[in-house]
C-alpha cells in the first residue's frame, strides 16, 4: 500500500530531507499501524502528540489504509 506522511514543527528534524509541508511517500504492508510507521521513520513516540489521517484525528493503534495522508504532530498551540 502507498501512504504519504507529513511532519511539522519540531518533528521536521527527524526527516530533514523534506521541505516544509512536503510528503514522504512510503510503501507499507497491509495491517501496519500508524505507530509502526512512526517507528519506521524514527520519530520518537514521546514527541508525537497528535496524529491526523486524511485531515481527521487518528490514534497510534489505527491501521493505515491505501492512499492515506498521515500527519504526525508534536506539541503545538498558540493563538
Amino acid at each position: 500500500m502507498r501512504v504519504e506522511v507529513r511532519v511539522f514543527a519540531t518533528l521536521r528534524r527527524y526527516l530533514p530531507e523534506l521541505g516544509i509541508g512536503e510528503a514522504k511517500v512510503m510503501q507499507v504492508a497491509q495491517g501496519t499501524t500508524l505507530d509502526e510507521i512512526r517507528e519506521t521513520l524514527g520519530l520518537p513516540g514521546d514527541e508525537v502528540k497528535v496524529i491526523m489521517v486524511n485531515h481527521k484525528q487518528a490514534f497510534p493503534e489505527d491501521l493505515a489504509q491505501d492512499g492515506d495522508r498521515i500527519t504526525y504532530i508534536p506539541a503545538v498551540a498558540g493563538g
Binding site: A9, G21, H55, Q57, I73, G78, G79
Partner: protein
C-alpha cells in the same frame, strides 16, 4: 502600600488616587476592568461618547519579582466594534510598570475641551497632561521613538495610531515592546477609538522609584511561582526550543491547514494551498536564510516562553515584530496570499496605523470577495492599507472593519459574531471554537475560550474537532479558565502547560493567593472565572444583547466547507446552555 486606583478626568485635566473599594478589591486584570466598566459605564452609551471609559489594569502578579511571563495589561471599555463589554490584553512594557507604581487600575474618563489632544505622563509623582502636538497624526513607530527620546527612562508607551485618532472601529491600542517597537496590541474590539475619544494619543508610564508591588505572603508566592515555572519549562510546547519558542504561534499554520480548519479566501474553504509558505517553519527558515531577525523573541521582560519573532526583509533589515499565526493567516490564507514578505509588510502597516490585524485581514478578504481586488492580489492588498493611511473615504470604510466593509460592497458571507470577525479557526471544522465564538461575551474571539487545545493539539485532553458532543461544557470551562488567567497578568499561553501539569495549575493559583493574601487554590480558578463572565454577560444583557446574538453567521449553516464538507450543526439550544447558569437556570 495598598494598591490604588488612578482616575484621570480629561474634561478638567485632573487626576486623583482612590482606595480600591471593597467590591473591586479581589480583582485585577480583566476581572477588574470588567468590574469597573460594569459599575461605571452605562451599557447603552455610545462607545465613542462622553459616557464610555477606558480602564487599564495590570494583572494580580504583574510587577512581582520573577513571576514568569507575567507582563499582560488588560484594557477595558464598551467596544465600538461589538457594542459589548470588551477586554483586550497586550504584552509589552506597560503591565509591570503600572503595577510597580502601586496602581490596580487607571480609569480614563471625560472629554477634553476644544478637541485638544494629550500625552499623559504617569510617574510616581502623579500625572502630567502634555500637549500631543509632537506625536499627533503620526504612526506608532514614530510615536514610540519620539517619546523614548523625550522621556529617557525607557518608559512604557501606550498609544494609538492614526486609526484611533479618527475613532474608527478597528483601532487597537499599542504597547511598546522591550526594543521600543509597536508590535504588541490590545487589538480587538476598537478600544483604540475609545482612547481616541478621550483625547489621549499616548500614555507614558515611568515607574522609576515607584513603590513596587506588595506581596502578602512571600513564601506562598514563591512556592506557586516555582511550580508554574517548572511546568512552563518542562512542557514540550513552552520549554526552551519547544514548539512556541522555535516557531512562534505560527507553528499552527500547517497543522490547522492539515485539520481542514484553516479559513481560506474569506471562509470559503478550510485549506490553503500556500499554507506552508506563510507558516512558522517558513518564518524560522527566512530568519536563518537572511541571517537577520530572530525567533524566540520575548514581548515583555521576564517572559520565559518567548513566542515572538522579528521578521527581516530581503536586505536583512528588521521589517516587523512579529509575524504571528493570526496575523499570517488573516493577511495570508484568508486573502489567498502566500508571500510572507507581503504578510510582514501588511503587519507593519497595521502596527503603525494602529489596526487589529485579525479584523484588518478579514476586512481585506471581504473587499476581495466584494470585487474591489482579486483574492491573492498582494500589491493590491498592501495598497488598501495606504487608503487607510490617507484616510480616503474607502480607507475610512476599511478602517471600520468587516461588517461596515461587507455592507459597502454588498457581501453576505460575513464571518462575524456580535460585530467582531472570526480568527483563524473554522467553526464548521472545529466545532468547540465555534461555540466560543458564538457565545463569548466579547464577540468572535479564539482567546476567549481556546478549545483548540483539546480539539486539535491534544492539550488538556483530546476531543474530536468535528463532533458536537460536549462542546457547550468544554467551551464554558475554557471561557471561565481564560477569564481567570486574563486577570493574573500571566500570558494566556501558560494555560497550555498547566492544563497538562496539575502542579502548574495549582502553582498559578498559589502565586496569585500569595500576592493578594487571598484564600484561593486551583479549585477556585473556574468559579472565579465564572464570576467575571457573569459580570460581563450581565453588562451585555443590559446593553440589549440576547441569546439570539449568540449565533454563528447564517452562511455557515448552509455552505459546506471543504475538505470535510461540513456545515455548522450545533443546535441553538446547545449554544443557549453555555450561559444559562447566569440567569439561574
Amino acid at each position: 502600600m495598598a494598591r490604588k486606583i488612578l482616575r484621570i478626568n480629561m474634561a478638567d485635566l485632573s487626576h486623583a488616587y482612590e482606595k480600591v473599594p471593597e467590591k473591586w478589591a479581589k480583582w485585577a486584570g480583566r476581572g477588574l476592568t470588567s468590574a469597573i466598566v460594569a459599575d461605571e459605564v452605562e451599557p447603552t452609551c455610545h462607545p465613542l461618547g462622553p459616557n464610555n471609559k477606558l480602564v487599564i489594569a495590570p494583572g494580580w502578579v504583574s510587577g512581582t519579582p520573577a513571576a514568569p511571563s507575567s507582563g499582560r495589561t488588560s484594557f477595558g471599555g464598551k467596544s465600538p466594534l461589538t457594542g459589548t463589554i470588551k477586554e483586550a490584553n497586550s504584552g509589552g512594557l506597560s503591565s509591570q510598570k503600572i503595577a510597580k507604581l502601586g496602581l490596580a487600575a487607571i480609569i480614563l474618563e471625560g472629554t477634553p475641551k476644544n478637541g485638544a489632544w494629550y500625552t499623559l505622563v504617569i510617574t510616581k509623582d502623579g500625572v502630567e497632561f502634555e500637549s500631543a502636538d509632537d506625536v499627533l497624526g503620526k504612526g506608532m513607530y514614530e510615536v514610540d521613538e519620539i517619546l523614548w527620546k523625550k522621556y529617557p527612562n525607557k518608559p512604557a508607551v501606550i498609544g494609538i495610531g492614526q486609526v484611533g485618532e479618527e475613532k474608527l472601529s478597528n483601532a487597537g491600542i499599542s504597547v511598546n515592546d522591550p526594543e521600543n517597537k509597536p508590535g504588541r496590541y490590545a487589538g480587538r474590539g476598537g478600544l483604540g477609538a475609545v482612547m481616541g475619544a478621550r483625547g489621549v494619543k499616548a500614555i507614558v508610564v515611568d515607574d522609576t522609584d515607584g513603590p513596587g508591588v506588595e506581596i502578602a505572603d512571600m513564601e506562598l508566592f514563591k512556592t506557586g511561582r516555582k511550580k508554574l515555572t517548572d511546568a512552563i519549562t518542562s512542557h514540550d510546547l513552552t520549554k526552551p526550543n519547544g514548539g512556541l519558542n522555535s516557531f512562534g504561534t505560527n507553528v499552527l499554520m500547517n497543522i490547522i491547514n492539515e485539520a481542514g480548519g484553516l479559513p481560506t479566501r474569506n471562509f470559503s474553504a478550510g485549506q490553503f494551498e500556500g499554507a506552508s509558505k506563510i507558516s512558522g517553519e517558513m518564518v524560522a527558515e527566512m530568519v536563518e536564510k537572511r541571517e537577520a531577525g530572530m525567533t524566540g523573541h520575548g514581548c515583555h521582560p521576564g517572559c520565559i516562553i518567548k513566542c515572538s519573532n522579528i521578521y527581516p526583509d530581503a536586505d536583512g533589515e528588521e521589517l516587523v515584530s512579529c509575524v504571528e499565526y493570526e496575523t499570517a493567516w488573516a493577511m495570508g490564507a484568508n486573502c489567498g496570499i502566500d508571500d510572507l514578505d507581503y504578510v510582514a509588510m501588511m503587519t507593519r502597516e497595521c502596527n503603525d496605523l494602529g489596526l487589529d490585524t485579525i479584523e484588518a485581514g478579514n476586512t481585506v478578504a471581504i473587499a476581495m470577495e466584494g470585487g474591489l481586488i482579486e483574492f491573492g492580489d498582494k500589491e493590491g492588498a498592501l495598497g488598501l492599507y495606504d487608503e487607510i493611511r490617507q484616510m480616503t473615504p474607502l480607507g475610512r470604510i476599511l478602517g471600520q472593519g468587516v461588517e461596515a466593509t461587507a455592507k459597502a460592497f454588498g457581501v453576505h458571507r460575513i464571518p462575524t459574531v456580535k460585530g467582531q470577525s472570526m480568527p483563524a479557526y473554522e467553526p464548521r471544522a472545529i466545532k468547540g471554537i465555534g461555540v466560543t465564538y458564538a457565545t463569548s461575551t466579547m464577540g468572535a474571539d479564539h482567546t476567549a475560550g481556546y478549545t483548540i487545545a483539546p480539539e486539535i493539539a491534544g492539550v488538556g485532553g483530546k476531543v474530536d474537532p468535528l463532533s458536537n458532543e460536549g462542546k457547550a461544557e468544554l467551551s464554558l470551562t475554557f471561557q471561565a479558565a481564560t477569564a481567570f488567567v486574563d486577570s493574573t497578568g500571566y500570558c494566556l499561553f501558560i494555560a497550555f502547560p498547566i492544563l497538562d501539569i496539575p502542579d502548574g495549575w495549582a502553582g498559578m493559583a498559589e502565586s496569585v493567593a500569595g500576592v493578594m493574601g487571598m484564600d484561593i487554590t486551583g479549585d477556585d480558578v473556574i468559579p472565579m472565572g465564572k464570576e467575571i463572565l457573569k459580570i460581563e454577560r450581565n453588562f451585555n444583557i443590559r446593553a440589549g444583547f440576547t441569546s439570539q446574538d449568540d449565533r454563528p453567521p447564517e452562511f455557515m449553516r448552509y455552505e459546506k466547507l471543504p475538505p470535510h464538507d461540513e456545515v455548522w450543526t450545533v443546535k441553538d439550544e446547545v449554544l443557549d446552555e453555555v450561559y444559562a447558569w447566569v440567569n439561574g437556570k
